[in-house]
Symmetry: C2
Subunit: 475 residues, 2 copies
């Protein structure tokens, strides 16, 4: 019945099958742009609500800046421009006329925001400034995949301004830890965190911190990132303030973001041969009820019982869907909710009913009977258990697939056979890093924040170093 | 201290002053696009949350469709195209190359959505389809004003598909009533509702229902609208379904939307000489606490007391802001919170404290003392009263400013002197309606849903009619 390609056969195709069969997204007539369907968008809404509340708790306020950036503003910060110019969509006509100055559809909002910050900030009393926006952004992509890489995507972008580099660094760390905690608590996703190599740093930033998750195919995927922007933009956009001693200084800035790509991350990190596996906290339906019956009389009794269960569980703030359809078989329903990753399925047939029991199927494995009277106590507990179990499994997988290598050959061998992270001593240059990428498709995902206490030899150059990095092949 | 132009002197300038001084929005370097600042965006978030919950309760699901519409798709529905083509922003370049086909930045999403609906809908079982999206849209505007008319704005657009015209009509009514109830319950805004004249109907629609509010300057402002699209788009985009008898039919569609313009509507309908007046339900701070003290000892005692009040009120889910600033005077604070439209201000000074009292100032007028011990009981009650009082005042204003006229001259005289709605019998043609607009700037805002039981004479043409319409000068 399922139309999903096995992960082992073709992971990329498995991914596309899951997106389609779980009804998460659809293709559009616009190259590289997807349609997020109700089931996929509901997941995004749970992610938004939780992350938004964490952002606000950190004293960050939401705003909305224009979609369009005048070309001259984007051009103002050279390094940033070089990073984004190749990906820009350009509006040249408006209201039936050619525009005097082309407008760029925002690929990110540093330039349009910081030009305004120079008007908003005058004194140290105006700092820190902490804002965030939920918005769509556009980056022209050649090869796209729903959620993972799309020309238009949805995200939040936080932007803060501080009086000192240290204050900015604290905010960069805070945002990174917010993402890390959110990934763990809400998405059951363990991530490695640390600094990006210079080559992989955000265009214009002093440094970039990142959260990196491990997909089931052994490839690594970047989730949220947090950038210390130094004074680069402050100098280009004249973001200055008068300090306590009336001295005018350039401000220090940060930006940090997380996008709809995180939905793709959840799919590739938790999904299995049967389809999507959703952590309960982002599942649109946490529990699905499936009735099994032959006669009208059975149907009446079973529907009554299931309606009662639905009401009781909903009173506990559990999201319950009662699958009342009479146009498809129970088997078809079992398959559909499995593909859609629903954490708990509860089936009720005449024989169950006689024993006042239901059959509970956990999407993460187990199947067992439970007395109907126990559901109110057990279901919340099982949902928590599933949330934890997914995190444990993913953590174990991450641990088992983090290996060491003493040479490039050994690294490539492991990556070819197993994928995962390869932790190695590193003293290479940007050019040497690029050479490795060109030859092996592996990149430095993070620099380990913990330095080695003893001197090590770089696995590639042989130079002495105390720096450890994680290489991987990435999405 | 206040920099707000009196309403009576120059209402348009008063409006711009309020937007600026209440810190709602800022101008950007992009022509016609505004920046929504934290205080303004917080208001939008309350509006979104409440309306979103009402939309979901009606069984409508949220989705997200692409920002860009291929030119050929927009061209598919001729009448719709003619309505929107002059306002389009056009992307001609992407990823450094000229595009084979230009992309339109969505002015509204009928065309991009309905092209996909033809893939989603096959059988009567797929109907009704009810979706909504929260998104940014772009309409190139010549003369813009923050919130009221901007080139880019935020909105929700609902789109539904039905098997019959009657089903679609029920949905069009439901959406209109949702807006009307929302305006009344949440924004304290009374609105007149009814059908638009043909001239003012949404491009491509069979008919448009609208909610129209009355600003304090006597001009009328269109809030949410709801369109019966008939089969126009279904025919252009091939949205068909097989009915119960296996006959393929074109579907019937609706769309309905409400935008950030509603914030402008709240400003012009409730604002007064002192600035913004916010209905409590959308006030970012429902209560502001202002301490008044001279000595450190007084400060300690007063801060303790106010912190206690804050905690007690927040426990009742009231949004409280304690203005602890020591860089400005109490007088400055009074003015600032007045300009920002905060419903209740609570001041506490040493003499109040001796009597265990506070001074309560209602933004809608009253000022009185209250025992501190009564606040938990009184504040929720006062907030409700303010919400009701604003609605009552606006309802009275709407009633007093709805007049009749027996000739064009009389209507113009009333509009020049007082503004408001002019209710008149009408049997004119589209051309005659246009002539009135050209000569007097008045347009038909709504056609009264209630027909006259006796024959009347059209106030302009003298023809016999049972139709009554409301003319007004509008935003």
């Amino acid at each position: 019945m399922t139309k999903i390609t096995p992960q082992s056969k073709d992971f990329a195709q498995w991914y596309l099958d899951v997106v389609k069969e779980a009804d998460l997204a659809d293709y559009s007539k616009v190259k590289g742009c997807m349609i997020i369907k109700p089931y996929g968008y509901a997941i995004w809404e749970f992610i938004q609500a939780e992350l938004n509340s964490r952002i606000k708790k950190a004293g960050v306020q939401n705003v909305y800046f224009p979609l369009f950036i005048p070309e001259s503003l984007l051009n103002r910060e050279k390094e940033h421009l070089e990073g984004f110019a190749p990906e820009c969509a350009v509006v040249t006509h408006g209201g039936g006329k050619k525009l005097a100055e082309p407008l760029i559809v925002r690929p990110t909002s540093e330039t349009i925001m910081y030009d305004t910050f120079s008007d908003w900030i005058h004194s140290y009393r105006d700092l820190p400034l902490k804002i965030n926006q939920w918005a769509n952004v556009v980056r022209w992509e050649m090869r796209t995949r729903p959620f993972l890489r799309t020309t238009e995507f949805l995200w939040q972008e936080g932007h803060t301004v501080h009086a000192t580099s240290e204050d900015a660094a604290v905010e960069v760390d805070r945002a990174l830890n917010m993402y890390k905690d959110f990934d763990r608590d809400f998405l059951s996703l363990p991530v490695l965190t640390g600094k990006k190599s210079r080559k992989e740093t955000f265009a214009g930033a002093l440094y970039t911190l990142t959260t990196e998750a491990l997909a089931k195919d052994g490839k690594v995927i970047q989730a949220g990132t947090s950038h210390h922007l130094g004074q680069t933009f402050a100098k280009s956009f004249n973001v200055t303030f008068q300090d306590q001693n009336s001295v005018v200084q350039h401000a220090w800035q940060t930006s940090w973001g997380l996008s709809t790509r995180i939905i793709g991350t959840v799919i590739v990190c938790h999904g299995d041969e049967k389809g999507l596996v959703l952590p309960p906290k982002i599942a649109p339906h946490q529990v699905v009820l499936v009735p099994i019956f032959k006669t009208d009389e059975e149907k009446t009794r079973i529907f009554d019982e299931l309606n009662g269960i639905k009401e009781a569980l909903e009173a506990l703030n559990i999201r319950v869907h009662f699958d009342e359809r009479d146009t498809v078989t129970p088997g078809y329903k079992f398959n559909e909710w499995e593909v859609k990753g629903v954490p708990i399925r509860i089936d009720l047939g005449p024989r169950d009913l006689e024993k006042s029991e239901v059959t509970v199927t956990r999407r993460d494995g187990d199947k067992f009977n439970l007395p109907i009277g126990d559901l109110e106590q057990e279901v919340p507990y099982i949902l928590d258990k599933i949330q934890e179990n997914l995190l444990e499994k993913a953590t174990l997988f991450l641990k088992e697939n983090t290996r060491e290598a003493s040479s490039l050959e050994e690294m490539v061998k492991i990556l070819d056979e197993k994928g995962g992270f390869i932790k190695v001593p590193w003293a290479g240059t940007d050019e040497e890093e690029k050479k490795i990428q060109d030859e092996t498709k592996a990149t430095i995902r993070i620099i380990d924040p913990i330095k080695s206490t003893e001197k090590l030899k770089c696995f590639f150059t042989g130079r002495e170093t105390d720096t450890l990095v994680y290489f991987a092949r990435a999405y």
